[in-house]
């Protein structure tokens, strides 16, 4: 590790009492010719300096859209932010001008994406793409930006960085490409790094390397991280807290240990039960019956009720409120306590 590169951001960047980043009651919809899809329906979560929040959910649950709303890179149309606030260091990003938001991107909050091959521009060398951020945002000279790009590639442990700086994305392996992505995101020393399924497109062994790298970098650089994933296995070792999303809502929110020990929402419980276990052989894998809801016709009441083993009439009629269960845990389930008791047993 080159020491020169490491410049930890002080945790004091957060104003007194507030969170570093806070999403409040966010609503996003996609207006298409076929109708309006309610993709995000009142998501709230927060992130403090130096911590890692995992956002967990199936595809279509709205986890990536929330992240893109934070970054301000939603494609509008079709996406429209209907209401809500995204507070960064106490300021609402959603009420800022495009130019102000642009200044935040990369410099305050940076993001890495799922498939690095398509997320990197295929016709420019990787070093050029890393240096571009530095040249355009920091006004660095070509030579300085190049030097810094090599440092960043060293930082993310790309072997022979100096030799490979002129190579194109397609010349790298999947894992190395994701490292390039990470180096690019770290270029401006962001305080928040959003990792949107950073390991989904990778081999299992490489997944572990990338997760370790992210965890190390987060610690060394003192960043906060939002880790978006659908893979419970990825989360366990890295995250401090988990927010579980379903149909554009946060259905459960807890610290990692309590959530793994005893989930308080039937959906989380189903997810945990569907992980294959080595110690229980010869049994069929448990699955969550049914399919994720069509976001144009979200079921009444609790959106999970058609798939839920705990379903009662109240679930069909009434949207559950967020139930506080102690230790900062919340669950959006009418029977959260029962589920929790069942799980703990």
């Amino acid at each position: 590790m080159t020491d020169a590169v490491v410049q930890p951001t002080p945790a004091s960047a957060t104003p007194e009492g507030g969170h570093l980043l806070e999403v409040r009651d966010l609503h996003v919809e996609f207006r298409t010719n076929e109708g309006v899809a309610k993709v995000i329906n009142g998501v709230s979560y927060h992130l403090d300096a130096g911590e890692t929040l995992a956002v967990l959910g199936e595809s279509g649950s709205g986890k990536s859209v929330t992240a893109q709303a934070i970054m301000g890179i939603l494609d509008t149309p079709p996406a429209h932010v209907r209401s809500g606030q995204i507070l960064y260091q106490g300021r609402d990003l959603l009420s800022q001008s495009e130019e102000q938001r642009r200044q935040v991107r990369g410099k305050e909050i940076a993001m890495i994406f799922q498939d690095a091959l398509s997320a990197l521009n295929p016709v420019f060398p990787v070093g050029w793409q890393i240096a571009e951020t530095l040249r355009k945002r920091e006004g660095m000279s070509r030579a300085d930006a190049r030097k810094r790009a090599i440092e960043l590639m060293d930082l993310v442990k790309i072997p022979a960085a100096e030799r490979r700086i002129g190579d194109y994305p397609h010349q790298f392996s999947g894992g190395m490409r994701q490292r390039v992505m990470i180096a690019m995101a770290l270029a401006l020393n962001p305080k928040v790094l959003i990792a949107d399924e950073p390991t989904t497109a990778l081999d299992v062994t490489v997944q572990a390397q990338i997760m370790d790298l992210l965890a190390d970098l987060r610690r060394e650089l003192g960043m906060a991280m939002i880790l978006i994933t659908h893979d419970l296995g990825v989360v366990a070792g890295v995250a401090d807290r988990i927010a579980v999303m379903y149909a554009g809502r946060i259905v459960e929110h807890a610290d990692v240990r309590s959530l793994y020990r005893a989930p308080a929402h039937p959906y989380t419980k189903g997810l945990l039960e569907s992980i294959p276990r080595l110690d229980v052989k010869g049994q069929e894998l448990a699955t969550i019956k049914g399919l994720p809801p069509n976001l144009m016709r979200i079921p009444s009441g609790c959106p999970f009720h058609p798939r839920c083993p705990y379903v009662q009439q109240v679930c069909v009629d009434v949207v559950p409120h967020s139930l506080v269960l102690g230790d900062g845990r919340t669950s959006e389930c009418h029977f959260a306590q029962e589920v929790l008791d069942d799980s703990a047993r």
């Binding site: 893109q68 991107r105 997320a119 295929p122 016709v123 060398p125």
Partner: protein, 312 residues
Amino acid sequence: MFRYILRRLLQMVLAFFGTTLIVYALMFAGQGDPIQALAGERPVTAAQRAYLTEKYHLDATGVGGFFYRYFDYIRSLLQGDLGQSLTGRKIGEILQQAWPVTVKLALIALAVAVIFGVTAGVIAGIRRAGIFDNSTLVLTLLVLGIPTIVLAPLAQFFLGVKWQLFPPTAGAEPDFYALLLPGIVLGSLSLATALRLTRTSVAENLRSDYVRTARSKGLLKRRIVSVHVLRNSLIPVVTFLGVELGNLMSGAIITEGVFNIPGVGFNLFRGIRTEDGPLVVGIVSVLVVVYLVSNLVVDVLYAVLDPRIRYE
């Protein structure tokens, strides 16, 4: 990159022999009596027939004789001798006069296509489904739907004869102004295709993942479009324009005919009409080379623009 070009060059050699062989075969293999064709309606004396048979190696018959004459032709072609047309003029001289005219015309047409087609295509791609996009869609469909044989006389009649904005015909040694209207007519088809291609390519690239990445880096929209999107979008457009330049260089038979431009297409058409075999084969052989070279340039340009091609 060097190996890439070398491979393309080797392919070119094969393509050259293949195409010239086919053209030569099509023109001469089916001919019943080439000497009578040469003489037209007039009778041919035995002495003349013997002389011409000797001169064109017509004594060798069958497939062997055909290849003998073909290689004879290729040999002189490689020495730069294109032979004589049936009218007795050197084909090299004919091309020397016709070529500059066609090249000028082709460059005007290409410039029209690049300047208007690509620019409008980029704007239409950025403002997808807007007024500009939709009106260019209608216009390009209109242009693509009208064949040159209709468009050229229409333009000649209205812009040349009726409103007298341009000279209606070009004449023996046309200047830039005389070639402008034919150039625009000729280029309008490439323009329409280039516009549609650019528009689709830009619109598609704007939605790609790397644009999302560029935005998350906090780059200005202007830079994202002009550097990231444009560079990727132009790859198919450049390919199209390069091939199109090859097409335009090989002469526009209809446009040159309508506007009376003494270019390559004009001469080629005359050769076909008067069954002037040597002239047709001579011109086509040169066109093959022009076409192959322009394709090579496209391939190299393609590899320069898209690094993924270089290492295939």
